[in-house]
Homo-oligomer: 196 residues x 2
Amino acid sequence: MERRVKQQIAFILEADKLKNVIRRNYLTDDSRRENTAEHTWHTTLMALLLFDYAENREELDLLHIIRMITIHDLVEIEAGDTFIFDEEANRNKFGRENQAAKKIFSMLPYDQGKEYYDLWLEFEKEETPNAIFAASVDKIMPVLLNTRSKGTSWREAEITADKVFNTLKIIGKGPKKIQELLKELVKESREKGNLM
Amino acid sequence: MERRVKQQIAFILEADKLKNVIRRNYLTDDSRRENTAEHTWHTTLMALLLFDYAENREELDLLHIIRMITIHDLVEIEAGDTFIFDEEANRNKFGRENQAAKKIFSMLPYDQGKEYYDLWLEFEKEETPNAIFAASVDKIMPVLLNTRSKGTSWREAEITADKVFNTLKIIGKGPKKIQELLKELVKESREKGNLM
């Protein structure tokens, strides 16, 4: 096997570990917490479905968005999942994940490793139209799962509606339809008692 | 919430069930069998990585390939996972999955449901260049995981190298690099005793 393929295979096998990284939120049937690999698939599906609602389609590249979503959580293999409402853990999140990104993407052939690191960084910065769309979808997904399940991860941490709006501010820059969805889901969660 | 968004949200929540559909093969750490949602993410990642090896790039559309991969296994929510080497179960697989596809994609707004059903059918038929590339990646993935783990799902079913080559014939129409990879992985699996 030539060196390039060997590197790619080693990376794919390393990526397998993302299936054992456990997030805070539960599946909608409340049977168990979600892992990051399956979350990423679900987010990709949602991005494909909700792309229709992007107002600035001419600025967006859906393939680029999907690439970002697919690779952005690989850093969790090294850095673990950081609960979005854990302010303390989020203070040094970028530093920890940046180190992890350098480590994992350097397993790839240089050109691909650089491309993936740049995609990761673009997603994290949430500045480009593509990254804002991708982040909006990534952030609305656990809100949906928490609302349409018992919301255990929110209840455990006594999350408030204000905290959701403040923490997910990036959605305010995304498609209006996702902003509306956030408001409706938060309202529903408050009514059910999933959010304080 | 308007009807279109309601339908899309209901579909996304239904899709959550794919995280509880269990495949035969194990993770590379042999800790548990893989679920279909995380398999789909892993396959998307591999398709992005190996697209460089497609010889007929001008005939291919990577976004279209990713769309097919992302949605093609949703039928398993209704029809369950069918072990690729189970000849009996594979005889009526298309019929069962076709019914499942009609059911699940009809949850979506008509235009999107039709688009996704057509993507599913294209993937299943393995005729277009995009479907052949997508199927090649989807089929090589469990070979990689079975080779670089204890290969328990192959050992349990006493799978032979010939059976792998005969069952995964579609890879013969895919990128040469994936064909070579299949040969090397099968050789490695025979040496380890994962394949008979």
